[in-house]
Every structure is written in structure tokens, then in C-alpha cells.
Symmetry: none
Subunit: 431 residues, 2 copies
């Protein structure tokens, strides 16, 4: 996986103008909570062409937090901290940053007054502990917080910029957007990050890597370079292309060329080059032909239909679906001959094909899909182990494939649903 | 929120036996992705009484990753890394850790052989790039990965332990549980964290909080105290109870009392007190009666059936399901009278009831479920806005409810599927 290393050169120091994000709060170190503030912070930073070099999540602990602030500022010139600006003894961010930078903290009477007004407007008296929140390090700019008591802080110090933002998202986001973004924009100039996403289905990560490596390595040395990140999910691979530039039309042209080369090398395995998901692409192909689809699912238990219908407006082309777990249901609802099940087993290509044809005939749609397999953990045999899945797509012609998926029940369900939709997509491309 | 700070003293060094977690992967630094592996890692560590001092998320970048490994090991004696063990040039974790510790990497022929077998079992030849994954630092223990190609690594070095785990959760979790947990348990003492999970359905977070707050605040001052965390998801609330103790039977008794008080206060809204999910609980109730269920879904598009069938063995009691989007399908497949749809609209309590009764009659099962609604974004009206969903459960008697769910299409689908399964659970409790 390639690093998006959008380094804006700095004339004065060797530290790049990229960013570290530190989320402060012991609750973020429990097994239940994730830091999501950093996603919004990252979005704003990336928009400005500032790459995020790392994120850290640190508890309300003085020595630990000090060590992380120091570590971040050794290597990076932008540091955004969220959380730890509250009024209690556990809220240490302000003190730790000021202490590390050697800046004295002074109470700002204007902030005290604003906080007192805020409390008074609710008919309350400000608790004495809140005065901590009015402490401002020498030379720092206090950022007003209309949504809470804790003001933020903007500090420029020794070639670095440090922003301290409150932890609650509804306080943090407006401050990041309204106060931090324009201040950072003034420092970085016109450089921006431009992105394209190519979605690939039907090939594993390492196979896709083998095919695209010669292409993306060439673009990596172009000027300006395009960085490519390969992400693999359940049955899908994503190629994320990123280019840093101050020339938007030029960036679009360059990214367009790289995407076209990738698309040509990968052929039918390319699901989309505009970010559209597999379900949406299959839906667009159906819609373009004015066709409808119906599904007969067994081991996927409705998941393939549920995924197809995640797309708004999909009721236009998903006519119906049947989950037929039992042999009886396969016979009754889909007209699969009992003798066929007896002869080949419920998990077999002939039965998958009969399911697809049965649901197509009975619902009067253009394309039928049949999925039958063994999701596990039980039901496998030496001949047909857990993960064996047969998928058929019946249109004017019927195609059937047998897969052996790795992993547990949920993975087999997910991979099967993905392949069913992908085989639908491929069959629509053939027509 | 209280910090789980179970620091096991170390006689030899001043570094506490607490942990740092580093998630490796540039994709985790984009605005779209969060690291969730660390939640599971934290859970296992906390179970063993090992506190997490910080978490970091670092891209696939040699210098940055090296700096974080060094920083973590300066201050902490347990370091768990996830990700970056793949076969490509970007996968740097193995090399960076070995390099930082000064350990030579050698290819392990047994690992190469195991990986070649894994590929061969699928009829593929192992790509040459995968050989990287067989490199083991001197003195490290390779941890077998039955769910993927990348083996993990366990390194004890200079008073610290370092575990390198693969990034995909289905590979990481079994390795953390089966290999890392027992090795860490051998290093720590008898203090453990004991947990109970109470799952609640059908009430919002703040209402649950109001009911349980007087109970958990009392247990918070007991000796030893029980800490309670409330988490809310789509239609479900979880109460996590945690108690730290070296006395396992005593902890079980104390937690049992607190859980019993919560269960009594919440009544039928309690789904389970043993961690079981809603689908599994509904399935157990069906199984206990020897009953089977069939579903007729419209707006949920198969999601309710897919969730019910996420439970292993669910094919025993999920007989069939029909996704009937079109009115024609509702008439043909479920025997819903066309006149009923005409009179009340497809999204109405009479139609939901007729869908539930229709699928019950036609499949000969004990309970039928009917779901019809408007998932959006289109299809709403002033009378029946987006989010209006009618759900019926037909057994000996039929119950129907109408909901108005907030949020977008996926949220309406998720809430509807959740409520359908919960209404099934409640109807089974009545019988």
C-alpha cells in the first residue's frame, strides 16, 4: 500500500508540512469507542493538500500526552489535538501543550466573561472549575466556541502550527471548518489533493497488484506524481489514485489518463472508474436495458437481494426474490425438479441453474439469479466442503459457476452475494 | 468515563507492563476509514488486566513507522501491531520491527510450504511476492494463520513483548485470541477484568439511561466497583458492565446481582444478558418450540432474512422468505388481495398482516413475518413519509405495528429488520 505523501517543501526546516492528529480522552481507549473526530479533521486537511502522517489516541495522562506531543512536533509541522479542553482535572491538553512549548498560561478576562454570560443565559452561575478553560498560552489565539464552553486554541510556534479543539464533534467541526481551515489555507497556498477511485471485482488483491504495478509505478514518477493505494475488501479491490497539484484541470487530465490505462489493463474486471459501487453499476446496466431481475437465494439468505436494494430506486428493477433454504421451498417456489436435487444434490450447478431459470420464468423478468451453497459451519462434506457455492445467471442464456470461498459463515455469505451481483453485471455487459 | 488502568508492576524496568497498539496502513489515514482492530485487541488486553496507554495509526511509510515503534517501546512493555504483513512492497511492519530491534530476517521453509499448499488447494500457484510473508526475525515465534497467508509474529525482546498480527479482522482476531492471549496471560498475574453485556431492544438510549442510571450509579460505589458503559446502535442499546478483581467466583456473583437488577428494571426490552445477539435469541426461542418462520419482505429487500440467517444452523428454522417489492409479487407469491392493496396502499397495516399470514399459510410454518414500508429517498408522501414501515408477526394471532424511522435508506432498512426480528422475539415470549 502506498503512502499519500503530499509533502509541501519547507524552506526553513527539514520537517514536512504534513500533519499529526492526536485525540485525547481515556474513554477512547476502551474496547467500545473509536475516535471519529479525526475523520473530519483528515477530510479538511486533505482538501488543503495536507497529508496526515499519523493519528494517535492518548488517555488523560500527563506524561503520556506530553510524550506524544513532543514526538509529533519532532517530525511534523501541523498538529491537531481534539479533546481534553474540559473544566476538570482530567482535561490536560491545554496545560500539556503550553508546558511542552514553554509558554506561560494566563487567564483571558474576555473568555471568562463570555463563559459567565453563557451560563447566565441558562440561569446558572458558572462553576469555579470552568475558569481553567479561560487560560490561554502566551502568543496563542483563542478560537470562540459558540456550541460549548471550551474555546479552542491556535498556536504558531517555531515553524509549527498547533490547533487545540474541543472533543464533542458538534463543537469541534465548526471550529475546524471556520477557524482552522482558513488559517491553514493561508499557510499552504494553492496546492490541493485530487482523487479518483477505480473499483475492481473478480480478482484477488495480489493478482490485481501484479497487473497494475507496472502502470502505477510509471505514474508515480510522473510530474506531478500520482500515488496509488490498493485496498481489498470481500471480493472487491479498490485502487485509490491521488495527485497533488495547484492546477485543477491539469490534474483531471493526468488522473484521467492513468485511470484509462488501468481500466484497459483490467478489462471487464473494472466495475467503475467514478466510484460507483457494484450494486449501483449492475442496477444502471439493468435500467439502461429496461430489464428487471429476480433472485432465488439459498445460502446467502437474502443478502444478495438486500445489497442490490441498498441502491435508491432499485425497486424499479428488482422485481422479487425468494429465499428457499429447504428443498421443499426450492421445488414449490421455484419449480426445481425434486429429481434434479436428488441426482446432483441441492448444492450443484444444475440446481443453481434451475433456481435461476425458475425464478425468471415465474416472475416474468429478464434475468434470474440462483445461489445455492454451504455457508457453514455445518453441512460440508469432503466432496463439497463449507464455502462451496454455485451461482447461476439466467437470461437468454444461462451461465453457472462454482466457487470455493474461504472463511466463516458471514464471509461465505458476503463473497457469494458479491459474486452473484458481479456475475449479473458481467452477463449484462455480454448482452 | 473511568480509565481501565490495571498496571502490573515490573520488578526489572521502570516501564509499566501496559500496552501500545499500532495499526499500520495508509488506508487507515483517509477520511473514510477507522481502525477497529484495536477495539478487539483492547478487549483481550483489558481482560488480562493490561491497560492500553495509547493507540497510533501509521501509514505504510518506513521512517514514520520506525519512529512509532521506537516511541512505543521506550515507554511500554507490550506492543501489538496490526496490518502491514501482506506480500507487497508497501507491507513494512515485519521489516521495520526487525530492523528496529536489530534482528535478522530469515525465510522459514515451513511457512513457504504452508502458503504453497494453501494456494495449491485452490488450484493456484503462489505468486513469488508472497515469499516475503515467510520471513521471520531471529528469535521470533511465527503464529500460524489458518485464515490467510500472512503468519503473525511473537517477539520477546529486552523486557518487552511485541506481537505482529495481520490486518484483516477475521485473520487478526483468532490469532489475538488463540496465540497472543495465552502468551500474555503467562506474563501477567491474577487480576482480570470481568464483563457482562446486557442487550436491550425497543427503547432509545436516553430512556434506557434514565431507567438504569440509579442502578449502575449504586454499583459504581460498591467494592469492588462495577463500571457501566452504555452504547447505542441501530435500534439496540448495549450495557457493558466491567469489574476488576482477582477473585473470579466473587466477581461473577457481584456482576450477576447487578445484571439481575438491570434485567428486572428493563423487563421484556432485555434481549439477552449473556451477550447473545437479537437474531440468535429469536432463533433459540423458535428452536425451543420446534417452530419455523417464513418472511415476506418489501422495503427491507431481504435484510431481515439475511440477518436471521447469519446465525449458524438457522436453516433449521428459517423455512423460506420472499422479497415482494412489486404489488404483483405480493399478490402472486403471498396471496395478498389486490383489493386490499388498492384500499389501504401497499404500505399499510392490513397489507403487512396479509403478507405475514400469506407467507405463513403458503409455507406451512408456525410464524410468518410481513414487512412493508418506504425506505426512501423516493416514494414518501405527506401522509406516509419516508421511514414509514408496517411490520406484522402472524402466529396463532397476528400483531401489527407501524413505525416512523428517521435517517436514510440504509438506516430505515436496518431499523426495520431489527424491529421485525424483535417483534418476532416478543411474540415468542408471549406464547
Amino acid at each position: 500500500m502506498h503512502v499519500v505523501a503530499a509533502v509541501v517543501a519547507d524552506r526553513l526546516t527539514s520537517r514536512p508540512f504534513d500533519a499529526a492528529i492526536i485525540a485525547v480522552g481515556s474513554e477512547l481507549l476502551t474496547p467500545e469507542k473509536v475516535d471519529t473526530n479525526s475523520l473530519f479533521v483528515t477530510e479538511v486537511l486533505n482538501d488543503l493538500g495536507i497529508a496526515v502522517a499519523f493519528k494517535a489516541i492518548v488517555g488523560d495522562h500527563r506524561a503520556e500526552l506530553t510524550s506524544h506531543v513532543a514526538h509529533a512536533l519532532q517530525r511534523h509541522r501541523v498538529l491537531i489535538l481534539t479533546g481534553g479542553l474540559g473544566p476538570t482535572d482530567d482535561d490536560l491538553t491545554r496545560e500539556v501543550v503550553a508546558g511542552h512549548l514553554g509558554l506561560a498560561l494566563r487567564e483571558d478576562p474576555a473568555i471568562v466573561e463570555a463563559m459567565e454570560r453563557r451560563f447566565a443565559s441558562r440561569g446558572w452561575k458558572m462553576p469555579a472549575v470552568n475558569r481553567r478553560q479561560a487560560m490561554v498560552p502566551d502568543g496563542a489565539v483563542a478560537l470562540a466556541n459558540p456550541h460549548g464552553t471550551a474555546p479552542g486554541l491556535w498556536i504558531e510556534h517555531d515553524g509549527a502550527v498547533i490547533a487545540l479543539l474541543p472533543g464533542p464533534p458538534r463543537e469541534m467541526k465548526p471550529m475546524m471548518e471556520g477557524d482552522v481551515r482558513p488559517r491553514l489555507a493561508g499557510l499552504v497556498g494553492a496546492q490541493r489533493l485530487f482523487r479518483r477511485l477505480v473499483r475492481v471485482s473478480g480478482k484477488g488483491e495480489s493478482l490485481v497488484e501484479e497487473i497494475v504495478q507496472p502502470i502505477y509505478s510509471r505514474w508515480l514518477t510522473a510530474m506531478p506524481p500520482i500515488e496509488t493505494t490498493i485496498l481489498a475488501g470481500l471480493g472487491q479491490v479498490e485502487l485509490h489514485l491521488v495527485l497533488q497539484s495547484s492546477d485543477a484541470p491539469g490534474a483531471a487530465v493526468q488522473l484521467g489518463r492513468a485511470v484509462a490505462e488501468l481500466a484497459e489493463a483490467l478489462g471487464r474486471d473494472v466495475v467503475s472508474t467514478d466510484g460507483s459501487g457494484l450494486e449501483a453499476v449492475a442496477g444502471q446496466l439493468l435500467r439502461a436495458r429496461g430489464w428487471r431481475v429476480a433472485l432465488a437465494e439459498s445460502c446467502t439468505g437474502g443478502l444478495a437481494t438486500s445489497r442490490l436494494t441498498d441502491v435508491p430506486g432499485s425497486s424499479d428493477y428488482v422485481e422479487r426474490s425468494v429465499v428457499a433454504y429447504s428443498n421443499q421451498a426450492k421445488v414449490e417456489l421455484l419449480g426445481v425438479p425434486a429429481a434434479l436435487i436428488e441426482a446432483h444434490g441441492a448444492v450443484s450447478e444444475p440446481v443453481a441453474a434451475a433456481m435461476a431459470q425458475g425464478i425468471r420464468d415465474r416472475s416474468g423478468v429478464d434475468v434470474g439469479i440462483g445461489i445455492t451453497g454451504i455457508a457453514g459451519p455445518g453441512g460440508g462434506s469432503a466432496d463439497k466442503p463449507v464455502g462451496t457455492v454455485c451461482i447461476a445467471v439466467a437470461g437468454a442464456v444461462t451461465t453457472v459457476r462454482t466457487f470455493r470461498f474461504p472463511g466463516g459463515r458471514e464471509m461465505v455469505k458476503a463473497m457469494s452475494a458479491n459474486w452473484a451481483i458481479d456475475l449479473l453485471r458481467r452477463s449484462l455487459l455480454e448482452d
